[in-house]
């Protein structure tokens, strides 16, 4: 091949593995997904065109809307808890402390462990009779809590577990944000007579605003993907109170093989996520 032609083609050759990959596994699937939403299909029989039936069904599907509500309830508990605890631990970790590496490593350990392990573990911790949490409550003279069998509490229990698992990552992110503030700012404020709270509110908070924003977005996107925890722990129960949107879509697709309908759910859900993230961006991201 003449060397000039080869030189011109080279970049395309180099990116071709990625190009093939992205067309095959991303672009084509997105298009196919949209096409699928207008059909009814269970893979074995031929596809059946059904127009907007799937969309109509979606809006009347109470179980789907319950799953969305559950996911939102989860986020409502999980995100503030996560931010509060992560910020608190990062704040203290930022002090001059011996054993900092040990503390940091401890908080971060659950982050790298598989969600499967964490869920199996917490399923036992939440046990009604034998769980460590209830045994502790009893030893303090308090009553048992039906963490996983009470439809009102179950999703909160999962939110607590998810916070325990992920907070370490956000501690580290907050720590990085906190460390960008020069000590001199605090010293100057101290000289002016500012209290610790005032220092926090006027120096620390604005400095870590971008980090808070990032933590919210990451937690939100992660929270919307909630799947393996309810799958293992409660299978969506009790009374569908822990049925996450992902779990519902999974069951529709791979339990019932409603391919067209689950594709519709998937697209709707994806748009919902992007919408929520866009909203959060609008309200939380402040100008520097």
């Amino acid at each position: 091949m003449p060397s000039q032609l080869r030189k011109r083609l080279l970049p395309y050759l180099i990116v071709s593995p990625y190009l093939i990959h992205v067309v095959l596994f991303v672009l084509f699937p997105v298009v196919f997904s949209i096409v699928l939403t207008f059909h009814k299909w269970n893979i074995i029989s031929p596809m059946e065109f059904v127009g907007v039936d799937n969309y109509l069904h979606l809006f009347q599907d109470r179980l789907f809307w319950k799953s969305i509500l559950n996911t939102l309830q989860f986020l409502l508990v999980h995100i503030p808890l996560q931010i509060g605890i992560a910020l608190l631990l990062a704040y203290f970790l930022n002090e001059k402390l011996a054993l900092r590496a040990f503390f940091r490593a401890s908080f971060f350990l659950p982050v790298v462990i598989s969600g499967v392990v964490v869920t199996i573990l917490w399923q036992q911790l939440y046990g009604l009779e034998t769980g460590i949490l209830n045994r502790l409550l009893i030893s303090f003279g308090l009553g048992r809590v039906d963490w996983l069998s009470n439809p009102k509490i179950a999703i909160v229990s999962i939110a607590i577990m998810a916070t325990w698992k992920n907070v370490g990552l956000y501690v580290i992110l907050f720590l990085v944000g906190l460390q960008t503030v020069p000590r001199s700012y605090y010293e100057a404020a101290e000289v002016e007579g500012a209290t610790a709270w005032q220092q926090f509110r006027y120096i620390t908070l604005p400095a870590i605003n971008p980090t808070i924003f990032m933590v919210v977005i990451l937690s939100t996107v992660g929270g919307f993907s909630l799947f393996i925890e309810p799958y293992i722990m409660t299978d969506g129960g009790p009374l569908n109170s822990t049925l996450s949107a992902m779990l519902y879509i999974y069951k529709q697709a791979f339990g019932y093989y409603h391919m067209g309908y689950s594709a519709t759910l998937g697209i709707f859900f994806a748009i919902l996520i992007m919408g929520v993230v866009a909203l959060q961006k609008m309200f939380l991201e402040k100008e520097e």
Partner: protein
């Protein structure tokens, strides 16, 4: 020591223990006879390997360990190689469509996976890759995020290095791998750790495309063991499986802790 400092230490130690004790409990409980697990406090009364021997007999856990390792290694290798190549092209080569490609990559990153999940499964069915390791490996060979990290890293390398190599007659691929990569070791470590970890811990996709127990990944096998009836509601056996699943990562974490933390922190920041 000041009282406030002491309280701080106590608080932080209590916090650290609240993250560590559950794992300790899990390991000890897995070594405890079934009947005594409910009363387990700080120290075990009796230790037994029964739960483990039962688990080994019921599920092909070692096979799944092999599967997970194989898949994770291949995925990591693919992401590193292809990510470096594409990142290099975006950073250092000029060609028509370069910006378009960049936007496509950004676009795929903003796309929630919920959209592509089902079509990808259907693709696996059509390719007859269901119940094959190909279904686990091939879709994982490229990562938009890795490409962006590589692009960013390569952009910091001065062009002169590349021009000099070209004048020496170096082919482009050799430039990428032999000359440029050694200069961006932190990026390679970050991408490597993140890819390996995500591949290892991924459960949803294996649950969808793999039904054959001999091909299951470790988290998948343990999940089905915990959820299905095979464990026969025996707590100790389930916990033994969970411990074994956690062990490889705990060992890797104990050794490479700083790299894990740095990698995930930088990935969070870049997001």
């Amino acid at each position: 020591m000041k009282l406030s400092k002491l309280i701080l230490y106590l608080f932080m130690t209590a916090a650290a223990l609240s993250f560590l004790y559950p794992f300790y409990w899990m390991i000890v409980a897995s070594l405890t006879p079934e009947a005594q697990i409910g009363e387990l406090g700080l120290l075990p009364k009796t230790l037994t390997a029964d739960n483990y021997t039962q688990m080994f007999a019921k599920i092909p856990i070692w096979r799944s360990l092999l599967n997970s390792t194989f898949v994770a290694l291949l995925a990591t290798f693919g992401v590193l190689v292809f990510g470096a190549m594409t990142g290099y092209a975006l950073a250092k080569l000029r060609f028509r469509g370069r910006n378009l490609l960049f936007f496509v990559i950004i676009f795929t990153m903003t796309l929630p996976f919920q959209i592509t999940l089902i079509p990808n499964y259907i693709l696996m069915v059509k390719l007859e890759w269901v119940d094959t390791l190909a279904a686990l490996v091939v879709p994982a060979l490229n990562s938009a995020f890795a490409i962006l990290l590589f692009r960013q890293a390569f952009q910091t390398i001065p062009d002169d290095l590349i021009d000099a190599a070209r004048m020496d007659g170096c082919g482009e691929l050799r430039i990428v791998f032999q000359i440029l990569c050694p200069n961006i070791l932190p990026t390679i470590i970050t991408v490597g750790i993140l890819t390996f970890m995500n591949s290892w811990n991924d459960v949803l996709w294996p649950l969808i495309v793999i039904r054959d127990e001999q091909l299951m990944t470790m988290p998948q096998l343990v999940t089905l063991f915990a959820v299905g009836g095979r464990a026969e509601a025996q707590l100790g056996v389930k916990l033994a499986a969970a411990v074994l699943l956690a062990l490889p990562i705990i060992i890797a974490y104990a050794i490479f802790q700083r790299h894990f933390i740095q990698s995930m922190a930088s990935s969070g920041l870049k997001s």
